[in-house]
Subunit: 192 residues, 2 copies
């Protein structure tokens, strides 16, 4: 039994990746996938081992989930907006996700959403109308782009993303009170 | 205007930290603080620069928030349980946070909660009754302990943690549609 994830197309763009962010960026990409986004863009730079890690997860646990890298962030954002997509910049300085109705507005608009997550020091341009439609804060405290992304997507999809049925998965978890229980998923069924 | 965070005492224990996890562990600690936990324990090892980073955030953005390190995890867990605290292990193999009523049970019990987050390969002991009261999954997919912790706390505190009023803060954010607006607390000056 799987609840449908509302049919919003969400892609996550990671800005400002440096080699020392290897694990954090991997966490961003895997969180994007696990919380219902359909793809991930590593802007400006390339990192083949992150790509490899994410693609391994997709091959094993299912998709679809796209991974792109090396696209200049300004181009990625401009292309997205040219296709009527909306750009949401997650930042601790943004509007309050709890006290505004931005999430319901986004859900109601049914437009494709690009979620931009950066590091602590993103260029001021990110905040301007030229690049972001919304600047949204998941709490106005310093914490983590991984945490911000997870909570944003959890609220956007109203928790339904946690029951998402991934396609072409080889394995899935059998939720358990104790221990680790994995089941292999048959090709013609969704497992049980 | 700040809504009260339900008065649950939550501490986060990070297991299995290695030097290469520097940024991920820092994210776990800052997420614990920002999402309403009252303290963080770096189990088994010490890392003074993570401690320094977290304490700098507490000095600037407020608390209270405790940071402990080097305590053997078994001792930390045993002490917690001896004081009638409950231990929640967040794991992709655990019970479904959406399809169970574990969160409301935890909230209703009013017991102190230790949230244990590890890395991908935690010892099997973690899953046993000797160490964990609950094994809870934030989606049965591989993603991130930072994401799992954030969503767990967001659901435990029902979003009220995002409006938490931190004590003794020197600065706070003025939520804005555009740009970065910080105010010094008690001095009411704002930049842009």
């Amino acid at each position: 039994m799987h609840e449908a994830v509302p049919s919003l197309n969400v892609v996550v763009l990671r800005w400002g990746h440096r080699p020392r962010d290897f694990r954090a960026t991997t966490h961003v990409a895997l969180t994007a996938r696990a919380f219902g986004a359909s793809g991930f863009i590593l802007a400006d730079v390339e990192d083949k081992s992150i790509k490899g890690n994410v693609e391994k997860v997709v091959a094993e646990w299912g998709g679809p989930f796209t991974f792109e890298m090396g696209i200049p962030w300004k181009k990625a954002v401009a292309d997205w907006r040219a296709n009527n997509g909306v750009v949401v910049h997650l930042t601790m300085y943004g509007q309050d996700i709890v006290k505004t109705h931005l999430i319901s507005q986004l859900r109601a608009s049914q437009r494709d959403i690009m979620v931009v997550v950066g590091s602590q020091k993103v260029p001021g341009e990110f905040f301007s109308e030229k690049f972001s439609d919304y600047n949204i804060a998941i709490g106005g405290q310093p914490h983590s782009e991984v945490a911000a992304l997870a909570v944003f997507l959890d609220r956007l999809f109203e928790g339904s993303e946690l029951s998402k049925d991934f396609k072409q998965a080889r394995v899935k978890v059998l939720p358990s009170q104790r221990g680790k229980h994995l089941v292999e998923v048959g090709h013609s069924s969704s497992g049980s």
